[in-house]
Amino acid sequence: MSPELQNILLRYLADDSSVLCLVFTREGKITYSNVYAETLTGLKLEGLGIEEIFLYLGPVPDAAGYLEHPDEKVLINIKTASGMPGTFYFRFYPFQGSVLGLGEADTTEMAQLQNNLLLLNQELNNLSRELQKKNAELTRLNDLKNQFLGIAAHDLRNPLGSIMGFSEILAEDLGKTLNADQQDMLRIIHSSSEFMLHLLNQLLDIAQIESGRLVLEKQNTDLSALLSKNIELNKVLASRKNIAIDLVPGMHRPELYIDPVKIEQVLSNLISNAIKYSKPGTVIRVELSLSNGKAVVCVRDQGPGIPEEETSRLFSSYYTTSVKSTGGEKSTGLGLAISKNIVQGHGGEIWVESRVGEGSAFSFSLPLEP
């Protein structure tokens, strides 16, 4: 090789190539590094020890050991300026009492890595697209369901109203002329249509809530008075099962800014549930108190209690508990879900405390300030 060619190659190796070139003493001190080595590591390497750039998990080997197998490829991971380690394949040669190391990155490995990253990124993006598409589809289906619920419930209310109304009229006008069985039939027609109307109203409520159309018409309301009124109405239902309802007022603030119709719906739901699951001769306590700046209403019964594993699902739509009602009353599974939405719409919370054999306490809170 001519001296001129040698010079060109040496200059290239020193300044321009992507071959890592180091000379270090047998004690591991670097005495020469080319431009690439310094650019790659981000360090002025002369004077540093090789342990500053050679990555080792264990103890750093004796620098002289690199000459044990001269001209063999050795894998060394290098600490680079980017923070990511770079893998190089080095050959080591004895050089003027020191060690000359020449290292190259494995381009095949890097190309493979690059490819794998590209494929992974593609897969991730494809999955993201799939997920978004399915989410959009679910939202569309949910909207359709709510529309259908709303239409069905709305269109069924009028005929049901007629059935209820006419069965009442028939019972009044013909009551004395009908035999016991016929009177029973009329009662069943009335109570069944009443239940169906109740279910339809709840389905309409759920459809409204899930479509984001729940509207609260808030006004200054005396919560104590509302409770008293609702309890008086529910006492009629409770008395049929010989169940007492007591109001325990513990809060003297006169008014809250709430939707009285919707809050009464929540009260009715909780009290009617308590009646449903209470045995004759027991007492339901309705407590009103103040706690942490909120008004808290608690409906406490002496029923059978609810298994712990069910309490977290009670407020989900269409969930019905395994606990049986004491008078054969049916449940739609929607009342507590609707109540939860109404209470949360007011900025409040709803929760249950219950133990099997010790009864249940359903509570909800309402903020004092709007």
């Binding site: 490819n115 494929l119 593609q122």
Partner: protein
């Protein structure tokens, strides 16, 4: 909405791999209410064509080209909350890439265009096995199948794919697109019935997605 200065700024960030900067710029466009179509054509498509040309003329490395593509794919995902809520027409398309190819971004943008037009755009990513594609078409019964070819070298793979799809589904409309078709003589497809070559997203929308389109 996408001025030349904005585009140049975005493109320069893309070429140096500034994912954060590119994301911020795309988010600013989305928040200002840009039409997704405009974003696709005047930002994503334009920048990717430019990246492709830079690579073809050895101005940038393969690694840079891959990085630009990866960043753009991630940015496209930012548009999805705005895209999938279009009312559906009841039509559907299956979109895929020529076997053996790894460039999928063009095909993905076509799938998204179908979605924007109210179609169900089922996107099968790069290198989907032929058997899987045939099975999927049988399952979804789409109105069209769209196939992308990114490089001209894949022509024989593409021909094989078209033949098999035509054999299994004789009446199904097939749309072909992709940069690889720029350098191909389209006459080889002329004998195959109901195969249409489409070179731009605009052409795709005009000829296949408008209500008056005669195909599908």
């Amino acid at each position: 909405m996408i001025t030349e200065d904005f585009y140049r700024d975005y493109q320069s960030r893309l070429l140096v791999g500034d994912r954060t900067g590119c994301t911020a710029r795309v988010n600013s466009l989305l928040e200002s209410g840009i039409q997704i179509r405009d974003l696709y054509i005047h930002l994503f498509q334009r920048s990717l064509y430019e990246v492709g040309q830079l690579w073809e003329f050895n101005k940038i490395s393969v690694a840079t080209e891959h990085l630009c593509t990866s960043i753009t794919e991630s940015l496209i995902s930012l548009t999805y909350p705005y895209m999938f809520s279009a009312p559906h027409t009841g039509k559907s398309a299956v979109i895929t890439c020529t076997p053996g190819e790894y460039h999928q971004i063009g095909a993905r943008m076509v799938a998204d265009y179908f979605e924007m037009s109210g179609w169900d755009g089922y996107f099968l990513g790069a290198n989907t096995p032929l058997t899987e594609l045939i099975r999927f078409i049988g399952e979804k019964k789409p109105d069209v199948v769209a196939i992308s070819m990114s490089v001209a070298f894949s022509l024989s793979s593409l021909s094989g794919l078209i033949r098999e799809v035509r054999r299994q589904y004789p009446g199904l409309a097939i749309i072909l697109g992709g940069q690889g078709l720029k350098w191909t003589d389209h006459v080889i497809f002329e004998g195959v019935p109901n195969v249409h070559v489409v070179m731009t997203l605009d052409e795709l929308e005009q000829n296949f997605m408008k209500p008056s389109a005669r195909v599908a």
